[in-house]
């Protein structure tokens, strides 16, 4: 037995298909759209289903979407359409063209460069008999083997053809038609409720019906004052295509309810009598398909058919020979609306509406509610469409007297009624065939702009023929409405829940109902011209305008709906606002651009006019008649043409860009039904569709003792319930299982269509070194994904050691004071602190940190050889390279000379070398001045980063005479990587430089800052003072605490570091049995604590305190003496009379709970908006419960505190996802802004967890690089030293 194997994989708009038999090699074919029309503007090509026979046919492939085609010379085949099954059985290619297959070479990077005409106009057979068009498949035979085979492309792989050559739909069909007039027997009529004076029927059927099967039925219900015989044009046309058409007399004179009764009665009576043989001599017996009935009504009859359906829907009428579901289509021509919302309601029927804009009877005017045709259309909840014809009147839709035309308005297309009839017939045929026969090419007539695709028989070139279409796919599946403006009246939120932002003018959202009795524009009636709803209807929309300026309106896409590859089109309906000055400003179609933006910020726009035509201007009747809605549809894959890079899997926003740069310079539009659609047919079967966010969960390297969580995330992208289960596939006993501390399986659960995804967290907490891997299995009722394996991998590692090179500035200006300290001393202390923070290489195992120094002024050189750090070496450095003596030694760090930063960076980076897989590499550059010696920063940063992409570059600017822009540009660590320290190292800023080096170390080692302020403590008392606390939670695995103070002031107080249990941390103390590591040098004390596991959380969870107790020794003399002994001058802060001393306290934790922050700005120039973002996670899982604030200190002015939001506003993409945002806009001042984040959140265990983080962002142009010395040599050292001496003498003179 040969079993057919087919596997479908969706790729953004294309499918890869395995075709063939399992007994032979399988072949991979790409099924995608190929046939269509070229466009003059982006997207440069439109893929279509139907192409008029008198138009050429083209194919196009975008090589950026299908790179494999590039460079290939292929044969293009146009073949008679085959079904999927036929292709499987017979993959041979036989071209239908006389010239045979066509050879073309695909190249370049544009779709327009790969567009080829494959058939000239009128060369393909379009004689489809009673069908609309002849189907063809297009194959690009890449290997030129004359077979559909591996690597080939095909348009038409499924049961539908690739395209259809369509004949003139206004022309009569091939079947001869018989017409017969008769009256229903009064007794039969009475049985079905037909009045005795309305019994007449006019019947049309194919003359040769005896040779045919069952045919669909069309019932036509005339309007008031009309004759049932006046619809012969429709009767003959449709009968010639195989339909049985009956037009009946209609009881419209008493009203529309009696008309509805007559429609129901005649439908039943006709079937009854035709099946009994009473009609047409029994010719119809056995030929009525009573399951396919179309109702067409005119005027009151057009309302009557909607009322008739309402009775079926409500169950107030039960027909004898048909049911509600047999009514496949209702088409109302120019219908009245006497009965309103509850009665004249087509509900879920497939509904179509005709409107004549020049109608002088059902005239559509603002003051006549019952004359507004659009009401009924907007009440339809299923598939619905509307056709508006300008320049025609009420009487030209029937075939009775053409005069009077019951018409008023300019640019008439009658009398005669011929043009109106051509439009009518040319549209009715595809409309009726689509809903009764599921005809495929018919849909193009319903959905494409009339200007670009219309029945062949409707003449071109008549400017008075203006037709617009609306179409909304009503399938309960395959559609997603982004905004229908119904359920969410807030203009800032869409009906799908996303944020709506805009800067268009006069935006308003309300019922589509002109609020007064005329169409004269008035600002007090923003929905002027809208007649889609009456006062009892709920149809709502959006209106806005723009005037000669670019504007936008943007809809954010809900997180769970970002995968646009599930749909074929973006669709919306829109109309120009009648009589508005902006509408009247131009008679051209109104156009604008639709833009999609993906999660990476990539955008692509398409002008709606690209496909031919835009939004028509309302009919110029009485200065402008009702708003005429028309649907615009854009194929989603069109946004990817020509390498746009747009990721349709992750679209975050849909945006309308309006204004002179995007289309019409000014305009006023009404918008509604913004949605994604897939053209699912009426009979579409709902199906589940499983999407797994990631089938590989790679935890990367996780340090022993730490845990990291990732989740199996399951989506249902389908339209039926998804049943899904997740089980462990790795057998019990596998040693790797123990590396996961929490594995979540689940027995069968149901994810409904549109439900949020199911998230199953899996926690990797390695206890052994090396790689680990387990697998889980996802089973589902999605037939295409019955069983899927998810692989979980991670590697347990020891803490990753750091290699650091500190680049130390010893230029002349480093001898200057910075507040209470000399700069070079402050740098020395900070460098020593960094040294002491490094982790010792115990026992020469190579697992410790390495350190080296590179010093520079106008020259640069290695200062501390790069090597592992040990405690003895730390002490050696303190007594040598970073000793007091070194600061006055011209051979070591005595400040002198100029500033050559770039060369020092080069040297230090060279020491660190290339990237290492098992060690982090850090380079910290400090400077207090502006570079004036080559090589310069701009020329070395790129090469350094290229040579070692893993190198973490940090920069520190000391003082105000720096080039902050350059320093910010050095770092590749975002705003984490740049720090600026002011000149005023005094008071609360005294220890800023040490604090920054502490932060750099913390950041480089992946630790989070818990607290980092410097406090001013008043010693004029004797009671213990709680300086600060640092909250530790059970998620924290280790901590570094830093205490900073002036050594000479310690004589005035006792300082204690205390655990949450009240234990004073002194040498020898343990926490949970683990000793606390302590180090003290000069201005700081370091406490390093590794916490025990969570079972001993009580020993470390809580507030760690820094407590200070004045000892009462503070006196004027004692203080004066102390200050004379100290290195820190305290000239401006310490005052013996007031007792204030600065004490710094910082804590950083290595934790499973993280605060990540970022500060970003466009171009980093003054005046630009700065986006502040923060994210809280525990073991990688977002922690949405919490609050985040940021205090921004600008270069000038006072700090400002703002709150960040996680509610989908203030720049926040998604509400309640654990990510907070806000925008800071007071950025006019150029310079560096300090942003201090504070978060108070909760970890997974619900423990309160404060976190802090500081970032600097510089908003100013990057300083120009000095003109490069062509030799790259430092300037003459003697000259520089001479300049330095002169500067010093000047300073001295000023001091004197």
């Amino acid at each position: 037995m040969r079993t057919t194997l087919q596997r479908w994989t969706i790729l953004a708009g294309a499918m890869v298909i395995l075709i063939g038999q399992v007994t032979t090699a399988t072949a991979q074919v790409t099924a995608t759209e190929l046939a269509g029309n070229e466009l003059s503007d982006y997207p440069f090509f439109e893929y279509v289903r139907a192409i008029n026979e008198n138009a050429p046919v083209r194919v196009a492939i975008d090589p950026t979407r299908f790179p494999d085609i590039s460079g290939e010379t292929c044969d293009i085949y146009v073949v008679a359409a085959k079904t999927a099954a036929q292709w499987t059985v017979d993959p041979s290619l036989t071209d239908v063209r006389a010239s045979g297959a066509q050879t073309e070479t695909f190249s370049g990077t544009t779709i327009q460069g790969n567009t080829f005409q494959i058939a000239a106009a009128s060369t393909l057979n379009a004689d489809a008999g009673t069908g609309l068009g002849v189907g063809y498949d297009v194959v690009v035979d890449v290997d030129q083997d004359g077979q559909l085979s591996s690597g080939d492309f095909i348009d038409g792989m499924g049961d539908d053809a690739g395209f259809y050559a369509v004949h003139d739909t206004t022309a009569a069909g091939p079947l001869a038609v018989t017409e017969t007039l008769y009256s229903i027997d009064p007794a039969v009529g009475a049985t079905f409720g037909i009045p005795a004076f309305k019994l007449a029927e006019d019947l049309y059927y194919p003359t040769d019906i005896a040779s045919m099967g069952q045919l669909p039925i069309i019932i036509i219900s005339r309007g008031n004052g009309h004759n049932y015989q006046w619809y012969d044009h429709i009767g003959n046309h449709m009968a010639s295509y195989g339909y049985i058409v009956m037009s009946h007399d209609n009881n419209t004179e008493p009203g529309v309810n009696t008309a509805a009764t007559t429609t129901l009665g005649h439908t039943d009576a006709f079937i009854d009598q035709a099946q009994s043989g009473a009609i047409a001599g029994g010719a119809l017996v056995g030929h009525l398909d009573t399951s396919r009935i179309t109702w067409i009504g005119h005027s009151r009859g057009g309302e009557g058919v909607a009322i008739a359906y309402d009775r079926l829907f409500d169950g107030t009428h039960t027909p004898t020979h048909f049911t509600k579901d047999d009514i496949r289509l209702i088409s109302s021509m120019l219908p009245t609306d006497f009965e309103g919302t509850s009665t004249t309601n087509p509900h879920d029927a497939n509904y179509h509406l005709w409107t004549a804009s020049g109608d002088a009877d059902v005239n559509g005017s603002a003051g006549c509610d019952l004359c507004q045709t659009f009401h009924i259309h907007d009440r339809a909840t299923g598939y619905r469409q509307s056709t508006v014809v300008q320049g025609t009147g009420h009487a030209w839709f029937h075939d009775g007297p053409e005069v009077p035309g019951v018409f008023t308005g300019p640019c008439s297309i009658g009398p005669t009624n011929d043009l109106t009839h051509l439009i009518q017939l040319g549209y009715f045929l595809p409309l009726i065939k689509h809903y009764n026969e599921a005809n495929v090419p018919a849909l193009d007539f319903l959905t494409r702009q009339y200007k670009s695709f219309r029945p062949i028989g409707v003449p071109n070139g008549n400017p008075c023929i203006v037709v617009t279409h609306e179409y909304r796919n009503g399938s309960p599946v395959g559609n997603f409405v982004l905004d229908d403006f119904q359920s969410q009246p807030n203009t800032g939120i869409s009906s799908s829940g996303g944020t709506v932002s805009f800067d268009v003018d006069n935006l308003s959202e309300d019922r589509l109902d002109d609020s007064n009795g005329d169409f004269t524009w008035a600002a007090t009636d923003p929905f002027n011209g809208a007649t889609q709803a009456s006062s009892s209807d709920s149809s709502r929309g959006l209106v806005f305008d723009w005037t000669d300026n670019d504007r936008f309106c943007e809809w954010r896409v809900p997180t769970t709906r970002r995968n646009f590859t599930l749909y074929d089109y973006l669709s919306f309906r829109a109309a120009q606002g009648t009589q508005h000055p902006n509408t009247l400003a131009s008679t051209d179609d109104l156009t604008f651009s639709v833009t999609l933006r993906d999660i990476a910020g990539t955008t692509q726009s398409i002008n709606i006019g690209a496909y031919g035509g835009g939004i028509e201007q309302p009919y110029d009747r009485s200065g402008g008649w009702h708003n005429e809605m028309e649907t615009v549809r854009i194929r989603l894959t069109d946004f990817q043409n020509n390498g746009s890079g747009l990721n349709l899997n992750e679209i975050v926003a849909v945006r309308f860009d309006v204004g002179p740069s995007h289309g019409s310079s000014r305009g006023r539009i009404v918008v509604d039904d913004l949605m994604l659609t897939s053209d699912r047919p009426v009979s579409a079967t709902p199906r589940p569709k499983l999407r797994i966010a990631d089938t590989t969960l790679d935890y990367g390297d996780v340090e022993l003792g730490f845990a990291f969580s990732k989740a199996i995330i399951l989506y249902n992208d389908g339209d039926a319930d998804l049943e899904v289960a997740v089980t462990l596939a790795t057998p019990a006993g596998d040693p790797d299982l123990s590396q996961w501390s929490d594995l979540n399986e689940i027995s069968t659960v149901i994810i409904g269509p549109g439900d949020p995804p199911l998230t199953l967290a899996q926690v990797y907490e390695p206890v052994a070194l090396g790689p680990h891997m387990i697998q889980m299995t996802v089973t589902s009722n999605d037939p295409t994904a019955a069983s899927t394996t998810v692989t979980l991998t991670g590697t347990g590692v020891t803490p990753v050691p750091i290699d650091t090179m500190l680049v130390l500035d010893r230029s002349g200006s480093m001898s200057d004071p910075a507040g209470d300290r000399i700069k070079i001393q402050a740098l020395r202390d900070a460098a020593m602190l960094y040294t002491d923070l490094l982790r010792e290489d115990v026992g020469g195992t190579g697992t410790g940190d390495k350190l080296g120094f590179w010093k520079y002024n106008h020259t640069n050189s290695l200062y501390l050889p790069f090597d592992f750090i040990t405690d003895p070496r730390k002490n050696a450095i303190a007594f040598s390279e970073l000793s007091d003596a070194a600061l006055t030694d011209a051979g070591r760090l005595l400040p002198s000379g100029a500033t050559g930063i770039g060369g020092a960076m080069q040297g230090a980076a060279g020491v660190l070398g290339g990237p290492l897989s098992d060690r982090k590499q850090v380079l910290v550059v400090l400077t207090d001045g502006k570079e004036n010696v080559a090589p310069y920063i701009a020329s070395v940063t790129g090469p350094i980063q290229s040579a070692n992409p893993n190198l973490q570059l940090y920069s520190v600017g000391l003082g105000s005479n720096i080039e902050a822009g350059k320093l910010q540009a050095i770092t590749n660590m975002g705003t984490e990587g740049y720090h600026q320290v002011s000149d005023a190292l005094t008071g609360e800023s005294l220890f800023d430089l040490e604090a920054f080096y502490f932060k750099i170390f913390s950041n480089a080692t992946g630790m989070d800052l818990v607290v980092d302020p410097t406090h001013v403590v008043d010693l004029k008392g004797t009671k213990p003072i709680l300086v600060d606390t640092a909250r530790v939670i059970s998620s924290d695995r280790s901590a570094n605490f830093l205490v900073l103070d002036d050594p000479v002031l310690r004589r005035f107080y006792d300082i204690e570091f205390v655990s949450p249990k009240g234990q004073v941390i002194v040498p020898g103390v343990t926490i949970g049995g683990i000793p606390v590591h302590q180090a003290q040098r000069r201005t700081y004390s370091i406490y390093r604590i590794i916490f025990p596991d969570a079972t001993q959380a009580h020993t470390y969870v809580g507030d760690w305190m820094l407590r200070l107790t004045p000892n009462g020794k503070w006196s004027r003399e004692a203080v004066k003496r102390a200050l004379e002994e100290g290195e820190i001058r305290h000239s401006s802060f310490i005052n013996p009379h007031r007792g204030l001393v600065p004490v710094g306290f910082a804590a950083a934790v290595a934790s499973n709970y993280h605060l990540a922050v970022s500060v970003s700005a466009k171009d980093y120039l003054p005046g630009n908006e700065v986006l502040l973002e923060a994210r809280l996670t525990d073991r990688g899982v977002p922690m949405p419960k919490g609050k985040v604030t940021a205090t921004i200190t600008p270069p000038k002015g006072s700090p400002q505190r703002i709150e960040l939001y996680d509610d989908g506003t203030h720049g926040d993409a998604t509400a309640h996802d654990g990510e907070w945002s806000n925008r800071f806009t007071r950025t006019r001042a150029a310079g560096s802004y300090r942003v201090h984040f504070r978060s108070v959140g909760h970890n997974d265990r619900g423990e309160l967890a404060p976190r802090e983080a500081t970032r600097f962002v510089t908003l100013k142009r990057i300083e120009p690089t000095p003109k490069e010395d062509p030799k790259g040599d430092p300037k003459d050292e003697r000259v520089l030293l001479l300049l330095e001496d002169i500067q010093k003498q000047l300073k001295e003179l000023r001091r004197q």
Partner: protein, 204 residues
Amino acid sequence: MRTLYLSLAVLVPAVAAAQDEVPKIPRTPAAVTEVVHVQPFRLAQGYRNDWSQKKEVISSGSLVVLKVDPALVYPRNAAEPVLYAGDRTVQRLNHGHQSGHVIGIVPGEMDLAGTLIWFGQPGLPERVTERTIRAERAMAEEAKLQPVSAEAVKRVQQEPVEAAHLSDLLRDHVAELVLKYSPEEKSLVETWRLPVAGRQPKQR
């Protein structure tokens, strides 16, 4: 007489073509111009009257021919003036906008002598209630519309007719009134006289 009817049939469309305008609805209430024909009828089998909300079964009444302002009866799909006679609506059987003659049925037993016959406000007859009629009548009286005089009725009163049911009445009697008073609408006559499905054509 037949010759005269044919001539009118030719002339009227020409006039309409020249006017190519839908006339505005005249002010209501508005009286009929003249009662031209009154003829009681009786049916063996009644029918449901759709021309009021009551929807009573009618088995007798009066066939009337009324001369009217054509603009009042110009067929419209939006609301048209409703024709009343005394305390009930008149069931109109033709349009009459070309001939100026409306042929209708006044349902039930009613002496038209001294009865007010008038066009009320535009609306749908199927919605008319007794309350509607009282209100419309009050407006008509306020407008000082005059009832039909006994002499006028007497002058046009015809002998009663009987038929098995409404379709027979239309086919055999009303059709002749249409041909006589509103020949432009002979298609109505043709419709009422169509062959009945399932029956042999009636010999006439």
